[in-house]
Symmetry: C2
Subunit: 537 residues, 2 copies
C-alpha cells in the first residue's frame, strides 16, 4: 500500500495537530473518524476521570436490539460488585469552586518525569530500517493538558486512572472497534484491560464457578487450560476440522450432556480463538462462525472470543511457485478481506471479545480491551477497579501518541497491512521449507490463513514400531529426536483441552513468528531429518 | 540534603555507564550495591527470560531460620497452580545451536518503536522547575542489549515477559528491599506485580475462601473491603488507638472467636497498613508492630503488610510556631528514621509485604512488588503468569533507566528524602490551617507522622441536636454542609472495616497530598465555617 497523502482534519477542538492520513478510507463511514468525533467533555481527560464509552461511538444504533441480560450466568462475585465505594463522592466534584481534600492521589509535582518521547515510523515507512532513517519522535510533556498542547500528558497518564482505562485511549479503541466490526445490537461497550490473559481469567471468575466445565477447541491455548485448572474448571474439547470446531459435535455434546457422567452441570461458556487459532492455526470461516453461534443460541452458551491474531490474517496462499497476491489496495479492501468476527454476528450480546495489541504492536505494553454488552463491560470494569486497575498509564500515553495523534485510524490500518504482508512472507517461507524438506507421506498440513502457527500432522501409523509403541511414546521420541537434531517444536499433546479425552492424532506446532527466515528454513530441514531418522526412511 | 558527588563504579560488566552517586551511603553495607552485584547470567536479560531473585541478594543469610510452610493456609487454588505448562520445553533452549520454533512470541522487528526517552531530574535537583532546567534525558534503543549498550532495551521490554517481572527491574527491587529492611529469615524472595490493589486481591485468592473473615484496622482502606466483599470475605475491625490496632483487642477477638456467632471460621489473615494508614493517618510504633506480630504468632495469623506510604514518613511535627527539623544528614540517618517494617520483625516468613511505587514515583506505572517467603512468592508469580502477566514492559524499562542506570540506590534515597520534605511541608500546612480555622472543642486530631491523610475527629456529642439525631445523620449533615461551603472531605463511615460493627466516633478524612498549599488553607477555613454553622457556634 503506497503511503497516502496526509490531510488535516478539523473537528475536535480538544485535539490539536491530529492528522487523518488516508483518503483511501473515503468509501467507508470511518473516513473521517477524527473529524466526526462528538464535542467531548473536557473533564474526562483529567486525572482518574471517569468516562463513558458510549460517547465515543459514531454510528447510529437506533432500531437495533438491546443485549440480553446475563444475570443467570454471571457469578455472585460478578453481580455483587459495587466498584470503589469512594467514587460515590465524585458526583460533587463538578460543583464550581469546590476544593476537594477527598481523593488520596499524589500531586504530579512528585512525579520525576518532565517529558517522555518515542521514535516511531511515519505512515508507509514501517520497516526497522526506514524507522531509523525517517521515523519521527513523538513527545508528551508533563503538563500538556493544562497548557493546551494535547489532551493527554504525563501529569494525568502517570497518575491513578480508572479500571476502564483513560478516556483518551478508550475513545480510540472504541472507534477502532466500530471501524472493524459491524455491531448488531445497541448497547455494546468497550473497556481496557491489562491484556487478554488477564481478560480470560476475569471472564472465568465472572462466568464460572468451581466444578464447571467450559467448551473449547479440542486442541486449545494451553495457558487457558492452565488458568482454568486451579479455579476448578475443566475444559470439554470440541472436535475440529480445518474450519474449526464442528457445530454438530458441539450440539451433540450439549444435547447429550449427562451431569453424572461429566461430573459437572451443563456448560455455559465457549472459549474460542476463531482466527489463526493457537495451536492449530485454524481460521473459522464466516459460515462456521454463524453455525457455531446458532448452537450457542440454542443452548444459551456465552462466548469468549479471544482474537489476538485477528489482524494476522494473511494473503491467500498460492503455493510454492506461484506469484504472490498483491496487498489490498484500499483500507476498505483490507477490512473486507477479514473474516467477520463473532462480534459482527452477535445479536444477543452473548459475546465477550478480547482484543489485544500484543501481536500487532507490542506485548510488553500490557494493553488489551474487551468489547461486550454494557452489563458485562460494567461488571468487568468494576472488577478491574479493585484488582488490576487500569493498564499502565505510561503504556497508554505512548499508545495514544502513536495511534491517535500520529497515525490515526487510517495509518494504523496501513501498519496492520504492513504486518500482514510480513507474516505472509514468513508463512510462505515455512510452507516452502516444509514442501522442500518434509516427507509428505508422513507429515501433512493445511496452509494457515492467519496467526503465528503452523500445525504439522504426523502419520504415526507409518512408524515402524506402531502399534507396539503408543502415540504418546512416538510423540516423545520425535520431540527428543528433534532436540538432538537442533530444533524445538511443541508437541501437540501440550495443547489438549482435556488430557482425559481420547486423542488419536499426533501433531507438532511450529511458529514462524519469531525466528528469521533463514533459521526457519534450517529448522524445518532439521525437523525433516529428525522425522526421517525416527521413521527409518 | 546536598547533591552528592557522583563517582564511577565498576563491577557489573553487563551494565555500562552506571553511576553510584553517593558516598553518604558509606557507613552502611549498601554503599556499593552496584559494585557488589554478582556476575550475572546474561541469558536472564533476554526476552521473556526467567530469573531467580535469590541471585540478586547481596547479604549473607546463613544461620537464619527458614520460613515456615503455609500449606495449611494457602487455598487449593494457590496450591494447585503449576504455572504455564509450555515452560517445560524451556529447559532445552540452552542447547547450543538449537533453533526454536516453539515459543509463540512476536519478533521485535514488528514493534513500531525505535527509541524511548524520558527527561528526569538529576540527583539533588528534584523539583519540577529544576528538572525543566537541569534534567537529563535517558534513552533506550530498540537493540541496546544486542549492541552491548545496556542490559535492557525495547526489543526485550516491549515483548512478552515473566509474571515475576524482568530480571533487570526485579534485581533493583530486591536490592532496594535488602537495603531498607533487615530480613530475619533465609528464604525470602521478591516478585513484581501490577500494583498493590492487584496484590491484595491476589492475596485474598491465595489465603481465603468464600465465607472467611479477615482482620484489619477498625477503619480501613475502603478499596480493600470493596475487593473482599464480592469474594464473600468479611472484615473484622480491630479497635485502634493512636498507635494502631490494639494487640490485646486483637488477641481477645481471636481467643474468644465463636464460629456460630461470627458465621465464619477463625481468621487466618491480618491486613494492615502499618505506616500512615488510610484513612486514619496512624503509624504503628515499632513496639506496637512487635506486639501485634506476637499475637499473629500465637494465633497463626498470616500478615499482609500493605505499605504504600512507608516512604511518606515525615519529619517530626514541632507545632505551628517552632522551627522545622532539618532533613536527615545521611542515607543512614534517613533509613534509621523509618519505623522498622513487619518484614524486619518476621522470623517465620508469615508476612507478605506489598510495596508500591505509586506514592513515591508514579501510580500510572502500575508497578509494585511483593516480598515474602519463596513458597508464597512462587505461588504468587505462578498466578501472575496466568492472569496479569508482568507489569508493563514500557513502565519497567522507564523505571530501570531511571532507578538503576541513572539514580542508582543512593540517588533514589535522595529522591525519597525530597518527597519526605515535600510531604512534611504539606502536612505542616494542613496542621497550621487546622490550628487556625477549626473550633478546637469540636474538632480534634493527632498530627500524622506519615502518609497522605489527616484524620479529624468531630465531637458529635456537642451537636445541639444530639442525641435526638444519630451520629450517621450528623455526619451526613456535616458532609453536605461542607459541600455547600465548597469543600469535600471524606466521611469516616466510608472506611468502616465492617458496617455491621458498632461505631461510636465521627471522623472526616482530609488529604494534604493533592491540592496546592493555598487551596489546603482555604479548604480547611471553609470546613471550619461549615462546622461552626452546623454546630451553631
Amino acid at each position: 500500500m503506497a503511503p497516502p497523502a496526509a490531510i488535516e482534519v478539523q473537528g475536535d477542538s480538544d485535539t490539536t495537530g491530529i492528522i487523518l492520513p488516508d483518503p483511501l478510507l473515503a468509501p467507508i463511514p470511518s473516513n473521517d473518524i477524527l473529524g466526526r468525533r462528538k464535542k467531548a467533555d473536557k473533564a474526562q481527560w483529567g486525572t482518574a476521570a471517569p468516562c463513558d464509552t458510549a460517547n465515543f461511538r459514531l454510528k447510529n444504533y437506533e432500531g437495533k436490539p438491546k443485549a440480553k441480560r446475563w444475570d443467570h450466568i454471571l457469578t455472585e462475585e460478578a453481580k455483587s460488585r459495587k466498584g470503589n465505594s469512594l467514587k460515590n463522592a465524585a458526583k460533587y466534584l463538578s460543583k464550581p469552586g469546590l476544593i476537594t481534600l477527598g481523593g488520596g492521589i499524589p500531586s504530579s509535582e512528585h512525579f520525576p518525569f518532565e517529558e517522555i518521547s518515542v521514535k516511531v515510523p511515519t505512515i508507509g515507512h514501517f520497516s526497522e530500517e526506514e524507522t531509523r532513517k525517517t521515523g519521527v519522535t513523538l513527545t508528551a510533556g508533563k503538563h500538556d493538558l493544562a497548557e493546551g498542547k494535547s489532551i493527554y500528558d504525563i501529569s494525568t497518564a502517570f497518575n491513578y486512572g480508572q479500571g476502564a482505562g483513560s478516556a483518551q485511549l478508550l475513545r480510540w479503541v472504541t472507534e477502532h472497534t466500530e471501524l472493524v466490526h459491524d455491531l448488531q445490537y445497541e448497547d455494546w461497550a468497550c473497556t481496557l484491560n491489562v491484556g487478554s490473559t488477564s481478560g480470560f481469567e476475569a471472564a472465568l471468575r465472572m462466568f464460572t464457578r468451581p466444578g464447571d466445565m467450559i467448551l473449547s477447541e479440542v486442541y486449545t491455548f494451553s495457558a487457558a487450560v492452565d488458568c482454568a485448572t486451579p479455579l476448578g474448571i475443566r475444559v470439554v474439547g470440541i472436535p475440529m476440522d480445518g474450519e474449526g470446531p464442528l457445530p454438530s459435535a458441539m450440539d451433540d455434546i450439549l444435547t447429550n450432556w449427562d451431569v453424572n457422567t461429566r461430573g459437572a452441570r451443563k456448560p455455559r461458556l465457549l472459549y474460542t480463538v476463531p482466527t489463526g487459532q493457537n495451536p492449530t492455526g485454524c481460521t473459522q470461516s464466516f459460515a462456521r462462525r454463524k453455525a457455531l453461534y446458532k448452537v450457542c443460541q440454542k443452548h444459551d452458551i456465552y462466548v469468549i472470543e479471544d482474537e489476538p491474531y485477528y489482524f494476522l490474517q494473511m494473503q491467500p496462499y498460492t503455493g510454492p511457485n506461484s506469484p504472490d497476491v498483491p496487498p489490498p489496495k484500499t483500507h476498505q479492501d483490507f477490512l473486507k478481506s477479514l473474516v467477520p468476527s463473532y462480534l459482527s454476528i452477535d445479536t444477543d450480546g452473548r459475546v465477550m471479545r478480547l482484543d489485544s495489541f500484543s501481536k500487532v504492536v507490542s506485548p510488553g505494553s500490557r494493553i488489551g480491551w474487551v468489547t461486550a454488552s454494557r452489563q458485562v463491560v460494567a461488571a468487568y470494569a468494576k472488577a478491574s477497579d479493585l484488582s488490576t486497575q487500569n493498564p499502565s498509564g505510561i503504556s497508554q500515553l505512548v499508545f495514544f501518541k502513536l495511534l491517535d495523534e500520529h497515525w490515526g485510524h487510517g495509518g494504523y490500518l496501513d501498519w496492520l497491512v504492513h504486518i500482514r504482508m510480513s507474516y505472509t512472507r514468513r508463512r510462505d517461507t515455512i510452507l516452502a521449507a516444509c514442501e522442500r524438506h518434509l516427507p509428505h507421506d508422513i507429515v501433512s498440513w493445511i496452509p494457515p490463513m492467519a496467526g503465528m502457527f503452523h500445525w504439522l500432522k504426523v502419520d504415526y501409523t507409518k512408524h515402524p514400531d506402531y502399534p507396539a509403541e503408543s502415540v504418546e511414546s512416538i510423540q516423545e521420541r520425535i520431540f527428543m529426536g528433534n532436540i538432538d537434531h537442533g530444533v524445538l517444536l511443541m508437541p501437540g499433546s501440550y495443547f489438549y483441552a482435556n488430557v482425559e479425552e481420547k486423542h488419536e492424532d499426533l501433531f507438532f506446532r511450529a511458529t514462524y513468528a519469531a525466528a528469521p527466515a533463514e533459521k526457519i528454513e534450517e529448522a524445518i530441514r532439521r525437523f525433516g531429518e529428525s522425522i526421517r531418522k525416527e521413521f527409518r526412511l
